[in-house]
């Protein structure tokens, strides 16, 4: 594993070159309530790289739902509290490019000119999405995962456009032993989730989902992998309604060997 590069072999002992890394894990409200396995897989992946994982007490949500709906006062209350909870917690890792983008890109807009402005900026600078943290910060490309089957990757919009994600996940997936990665046509096209958009404009959301499902069908994958549980909810909801054999899973689950063949 590449993680050895972080350590020095000295007199026959493996010694860490720097103090042990410690991160605060912010799993997001969706993972906490609906997909706890994704949170556990994320913690496990980080721990296997020698990272100490803490979960700050009282974390709930980044506030994006209300922010996207235009209810900025409500978003401010929730996000402001999140900033407080994450204060002095060191690097923050999220298994979500969307919540990550909220903190890194949109907190600036939400907190601009408020008492949280400086703290929001400081938090943005130490916030990472999981695959980004593994590949770009830790320098890992092989996490020792195995999966026998074909995998296709869907680029979640916010992570891809506002955090520069996609490359990292593909590097990690290419190193999954036994897996064949097949290209997903239109992998960078929105699945149609979009938060409340999926409910308020459900017809458009469904049309976008059906294009995504057609592409998934075309590529012939066993598992559709993505880095956001929001897209995963949309895509999995469509797949199960269509009685498809394809499963939608979060990348942390695949990398932590939580997806059975």
């Amino acid at each position: 594993m590449r993680s050895r590069s972080l350590r020095l072999k000295q007199k026959g002992h493996v010694m860490t070159a720097q103090p042990r890394r410690r991160v605060a894990l912010f799993v997001s409200c969706i993972v906490d309530q609906i997909y706890p396995a994704v949170g556990l897989a994320t913690a496990e992946l980080l721990e296997r790289q020698g990272v100490e994982v803490t979960v700050p007490r009282g974390l709930t949500c980044c506030g994006q739902m209300a922010f996207n709906a235009g209810f900025r006062d409500d978003a401010y209350a929730v996000a402001g509290r999140t900033i407080e909870v994450l204060r002095h917690q060191g690097d923050v890792v999220l298994p979500s490019g969307s919540c990550g983008a909220m903190i890194r890109h949109l907190y600036h807009e939400l907190f601009h000119g408020t008492r949280h402005a400086a703290a929001a900026k400081e938090l943005a600078a130490r916030t990472y999405e999981l695959t980004e943290y593994l590949v770009d910060v830790l320098g890992v490309s092989d996490v020792g995962a195995r999966f026998s089957g074909t995998i296709a990757f869907h680029d979640a919009c916010h992570g891809m456009r506002y955090m520069g994600l996609g490359r990292q996940a593909r590097v990690l997936l290419e190193h999954v032993a036994g897996a064949t990665i097949v290209p997903l046509p239109g992998s960078d096209e929105c699945c149609g989730f979009g938060g409340l958009f999926a409910v308020k404009q459900h017809q458009i959301s469904e049309a976008m989902l059906h294009r995504k499902l057609a592409h998934i069908d075309q590529c012939g994958c066993d598992v559709l992998v993505t880095g956001d549980t929001s897209c995963m909810t949309q895509i999995a909801g469509g797949l199960s309604r269509a009685k498809s054999r394809v499963r939608a899973r979060h990348i942390a689950e695949v990398l932590a060997n939580r997806v059975e063949r």
């Binding site: 409200c29 993972v31 906490d32 309530q33 609906i34 997909y35 706890p36 994704v38 949170g39 556990l40 913690a43 979960v55 007490r57 009282g58 709930t60 949500c61 506030g63 739902m65 209300a66 922010f67 996207n68 709906a69 235009g70 209810f71 900025r72 409500d74 209350a77 929730v78 509290r81 807009e109 919009c157 916010h158 456009r161 960078d188 096209e189 929105c190 149609g192 989730f193 979009g194 938060g195 958009f197 999926a198 409910v199 308020k200 404009q201 459900h202 017809q203 458009i204 959301s205 469904e206 049309a207 976008m208 989902l209 294009r211 909810t233 999995a236 909801g237 469509g238 199960s240 309604r241």
Partner: protein, 471 residues
């Protein structure tokens, strides 16, 4: 005047079920996206070009007064006339008065979104003037009695078969699906009109302050005829569409053509700086430039000023999965797609339900990435949504839902309790972790999708258990 209403979500359903529209949209946006991609790839550093274009637009907006004054001054010195129109009504009145004073009967028009914005054709026809659109796409939709559904491809929603039927009905064409035959038919009909016309009305792609000139790009040659054949030329320009000099123009024309149609440059680029001068053989006797404000100066300096950087290339429409799904008409305004969802509420705030337009987006950001001047379209949509809420415009259930959400997300005990209730509820409604029906308003989710049941134990609980077990 008729109302120019937004019934826009009402039209979504019919747009999604209109097979011809879906076929036409699929074909056209795919072609546009492909052409743009190759045109962009052919430039060494398109990103750098976008950055330059953005800086040019921002610089021009910052000195708008000065640049417009220079443009107007030079045009007047060459014998042209400049009308500073505060709103659509002023612009319409100026053109109507001019037409009536000069005894105009027939007007040919080349493509102009600004004229669409002020509903000019309707006003001119109302006073008995004969108005003919000469851009092929505009001509098609004029025959069909429709409005443009795309900024640069107004008839993008029409299939070849629909155009054939229109030409058979209105131009007496012998039925054929052969495109050259169809364009020849339109061309023959339009030639007559160019020769008859007393006035030509055009749009403006860019004003160039230092040259005292306006620039029009096109691919059909109809704008050249519109601006030279009739004895009067009226150009309508949104006041924001200006740049300082020819160097800046060069950058803007490059990103415009590549972003719009995937061309390196449009087929015809006309630079017009006034009426025909005594030694020139062609050109109109009179040249009038209508500088249209229509709320633009209110936007400058505010939170939406960036929207005025738009150069009307249509790339954000093509890239948008929402536009691809419903086309332009569903947006119900003059400008459609992502930029339309910003411009329409800003330029026509009086339209009913216009505050809903910024919600016609999944916020995926494809628009911002396609934009040649990097307008942060999703951020502006989010601001418009926030402004609407501030003005009391939201769905009836939203305030209560947001209140409940806020309480739960800021109070761990409530959060835990709410989660348990949701878990119990969704597990009772579901089977094998999938929920096929949810109560309103969430039934909108379950119409075509399953929803996952909440977990019996949250991550937080499992994490605490794991810690206690000491693993």
């Amino acid at each position: 005047m008729t109302t120019h209403t937004i019934a826009f979500f009402d039209r979504v359903e019919s747009a999604l079920h209109d097979d011809s529209l879906q076929t036409a949209l699929g074909r056209a946006t795919t072609r546009f996206i492909g052409n743009r991609a190759s045109a962009v790839a052919a430039v060494d550093d398109f990103e750098a070009l976008r950055d330059r274009a953005r800086a040019i637009r921002a610089g021009a907006l910052a000195r708008l007064d000065e640049l417009l004054a220079r443009l107007a001054d030079m045009i007047e010195r060459r014998g042209g006339h400049v009308c500073w129109a505060e709103d659509g009504a002023a612009a319409r009145q100026y053109i109507i008065d001019l037409a009536q004073q000069r005894g105009v009967h027939t007007i040919v028009k080349s493509k102009s979104m600004a004229s669409e914005e002020i509903h000019l054709n309707e006003a001119l026809e109302h006073v008995g003037l004969d108005v003919i659109e000469t851009d092929l796409g505009e001509y098609i939709i004029q025959l069909a009695g429709e409005t443009p559904s795309h900024i640069i491809a107004p008839a993008i929603h029409k299939t070849r078969e629909q155009v054939r039927d229109l030409f058979v009905e209105h131009l007496g064409m012998t039925p054929t699906d052969d495109i050259p035959t169809m364009t020849r038919t339109a061309r023959t009909a339009l030639r007559q009109r160019f020769l008859q016309a007393d006035m030509g009305i055009s749009g403006v792609n860019f004003g160039v302050a230092n040259e005292g000139a306006i620039v029009i790009v096109e691919n059909e040659g109809n704008a050249r005829l519109t601006t030279t054949a009739p004895r009067i030329h009226v150009a309508i320009m949104g006041i924001e569409r200006i740049c300082e000099n020819l160097d800046d123009l060069g950058v803007l024309l490059q990103v415009l053509a590549r972003s719009a149609t995937g061309q390196r440059l449009s087929v015809y680029t006309s630079v017009i700086s006034g009426p025909r001068r005594p030694h020139e053989p062609d050109g109109p006797d009179e040249f009038h430039l209508v500088l249209l404000d229509n709320r633009r100066s209110d936007i400058i300096g505010g939170g939406y000023a960036e929207a005025l950087m738009c150069i009307r290339c249509g790339a954000c429409l093509n890239a948008c999965p929402v536009y691809q799904s419903i086309g332009g008409h569903a947006y119900g305004g003059v400008y459609s797609g992502p930029i339309g969802a910003i411009l329409t509420p800003l330029l026509q705030p009086e339209l009913p339900d216009v505050h809903k337009l910024p919600h016609a987006s999944s916020l995926c950001g494809a628009c911002e990435w396609a934009c040649p001047v990097k307008i942060a379209i999703p951020d502006l949509l989010l601001r418009l949504r926030a402004d609407a809420v501030k003005n009391g415009k939201y769905e009836p259930y939203e305030p209560l839902a947001m209140f409940g959400w806020r309480q739960a997300m800021t109070n761990p005990a409530l959060y835990g309790m709410g989660g348990k209730l949701a878990s119990l509820g969704t597990r009772m409604l579901g089977r094998d972790g999938r929920v096929g029906w949810l109560p309103p308003p969430l039934d909108q989710w379950t119409k075509q999708r399953d929803f996952p049941a909440f977990a019996p134990k949250t991550f937080t609980e499992l994490w605490e258990e794991r810690k206690r077990a000491g693993s």
